[in-house]
């Protein structure tokens, strides 16, 4: 187990390095002079030179990469718009995004787990067709349409919930539903699929033959094994909520890192864009790492198989 976890951890190192390189390169993909793009062509020459020196753009590329990381993590790299350290700005907004993502996660699990189970138990019946119809629609409905439609219904027509902003629990409901719907759709499909796979297994036939009630067979025996493969899908989707939050936060003026990223792009604040993209990508890597470890803990076959494969 320890070997597997260490190996998985070691595999993450080159990925993190690659993410840092890619985020660093972003500034160099700007067509033309990035300083001119950020400040505008009419900015005073002295201002342009000052920013160029501050970002070390006059140094060789590998030196720039060192200073980029050094300045980012030491707080020297500042947002042009907010005029404060990039990491401080990102971390200051992070909590709002985590709050939204967690709420979306809870809502999507509350919907998808029962839906997937009912669809599997009633396979081929009306409930199953309706549940899978919801799943297909949930995957296809763009969040940037669902959000405004929820606002139209619950905020404008019914006047039940606030249109935008953050503060009370009521503010959280519509953004969380908007962000969580896609995940609910994918996870319910996954749970239905893995439960159907398990329902045909011999050990369940044995459990039934022993006279156990169908409810006990499903809840105590089938569900436990069926939910294990869902761990990785839930983990992946939970990570994807961070990028989904970019759109949801923009719709609902939610003050998280997603809406800040779009603001930073429109104000050409490239250091803040780089910092935000890096934090989202690294959080995603971390969530995937934790997911894989949780999967290995939950399913011993995974770690034994991987340890064997690694040992050969």
């Amino acid at each position: 187990m320890r070997d597997y976890l260490l190996k998985r951890l070691a595999l993450t190192v080159p990925v993190i390095f690659g993410v840092l390189v890619l985020v660093f390169i972003l500034m160099h993909l700007v067509p033309g002079d990035p300083v001119e793009v950020m400040l505008g062509e009419v900015a005073a020459k002295s201002n342009q030179e000052a920013l160029r020196a501050e970002l070390h753009l006059d140094r060789p590329l590998y030196v720039q990469f060192y200073y980029f990381l050094h300045d980012l993590f030491s707080g020297k790299l500042e947002s042009l718009y907010y005029e404060r350290p990039v990491m401080e700005q990102v971390m200051g907004r992070m909590f709002a995004t985590i709050e939204l993502a967690l709420a979306a996660l809870v809502i999507s699990l509350l919907v998808s787990v029962p839906l997937g189970i009912v669809a599997a138990i009633r396979k081929g019946k009306g409930t199953d067709v309706a549940a899978m119809g919801f799943s297909m629609a949930g995957v296809s409905i763009p969040s940037f349409w669902l959000g405004p439609m929820l606002i139209l219904l619950f905020s404008i027509k019914l006047e039940l919930l606030p249109v935008s902003g953050r503060g009370t629990f009521a503010h959280l409901i519509l953004p969380a539903i908007t962000l969580g719907t896609g995940m609910a759709a994918i996870v319910s499909r996954m749970i239905r699929g893995s439960l159907l796979d398990v329902l045909g297994e011999d050990y369940l036939r044995t459990a039934r033959a022993k006279g156990l009630a169908e409810k006990t067979v499903i809840i105590k025996h089938a569900l436990r094994n069926a939910l294990i493969p869902s761990i990785s899908v839930v983990g992946l989707q939970a990570g994807a909520l961070l990028s989904g939050a970019i759109i949801t936060e923009t719709i609902f003026a939610w003050p998280g890192i997603g809406s800040m990223l779009i603001q930073a792009i429109h104000s050409r604040d490239f250091p803040l864009v780089q910092g935000t993209v890096m934090v989202i990508a690294l959080s995603y890597v971390l969530i995937n790492l934790v997911t894989d470890m949780a999967y290995a803990v939950a399913d011993p076959r995974v770690r034994f198989r991987k340890e064997e494969a690694g040992g050969q």
Binding site: V19, W145, P148, M149, I156
Partner: protein, 272 residues
């Protein structure tokens, strides 16, 4: 087996919507009742009427005409992204699987790094620095899009290369290029076609997302930008946001239906 009926219906429904999309994109100047840029600034924002079946937007432009023209961007970006991603992904996957060793290591580590960017984050980051424009959007979406094809092709190649015919071709002196184009390409095509169908849905949705955020193509009307404009008028003219959203959803649903259906059918026949 039991989903053969619905699968066929879904395939047809998807194909019909896809056909409407492609015809709208190709014949937009003849199908659109109005010039999509023509404004009627003196009028109030009008909902659906006989002369404007889907209403007009805040600038008095005809929404139906804008949706028909908007199909062009969806088709160009969708097809462009799928083609570029599939070509890069196929080559990367084939080289990775066939050559192995350091090639495989390098390509798969690049894949790992790109997969560290969830959803459309990388596309957002790239269009943020390269600027909007159809070409830039296609490149930004393909930058991560090829990864899925590369993984599919690599795993197919790993299976196929153990089969006798690749060995036979190699012993007859065929080079990697010949083996890839003549032998591996036809045998890896099925899963690539299925993925391309889902890829079209994904690319169209991603383009609409970028346009909604103000990062999409600016040359033509786009569904995402229309929807974004419409969100400012939800209280007084909700139709501006409703109709482009329906167009996006129907299109994405259509390609997802087709992808699901093709996967069921082609996998079955492939297994026989």
């Amino acid at each position: 087996m039991d989903n053969k009926g619905p699968g066929k219906a879904a395939l047809w429904a998807g194909a019909i919507i896809a056909a409407v999309l492609f015809v709208s994109a190709g014949a937009a100047p003849w199908l659109a009742p109005y010039d999509p840029g023509a404004q009627e600034l003196t009028r109030d924002i009008s909902g659906p009427t006989l002369s404007h079946p889907l209403g007009q937007d805040n600038l008095g432009r005809d929404i139906l005409s804008m949706i028909i023209y908007g199909a062009r961007v969806s088709v160009i970006v969708g097809v462009g992204t799928v083609l570029l991603s599939a070509v890069i992904g196929f080559l990367a996957g084939a080289i990775s699987g066939l050559k192995g060793g350091i090639w495989d290591q390098v390509i798969m580590r690049i894949v790992d790094v790109l997969l560290a960017f969830p959803g459309i984050l990388l596309a957002i980051a790239l269009t943020a620095v390269t600027g909007p424009g159809i070409g830039n959007v296609i490149i930004a979406l393909s930058a991560r899009g090829w990864v899925t094809y590369a993984r599919i092709v690599r795993s197919q190649v790993l299976v196929e290369r153990e089969r006798g015919y690749v060995e036979a071709a190699r012993s007859l002196g065929a080079g990697s290029g010949r083996i890839i184009s003549l032998h591996l390409l036809p045998n890896t095509l099925t899963p690539v076609v299925v993925q391309a169908t889902f890829g079209l849905a994904g690319a169209i949705l991603a383009e609409a997302s970028l346009s909604f955020l103000g990062l999409g193509p600016q040359e033509m009307p786009t569904w995402g930008a229309m929807l974004s404009d419409g969100t400012s008028y939800l209280r007084t003219a909700p139709h501006i946001a409703v109709f482009p959203g329906i167009a996006i959803m129907a299109t994405v649903l259509a390609f997802n239906f087709m992808g699901d259906s093709l996967r069921d059918r082609l996998t079955k026949s492939g297994a026989k």
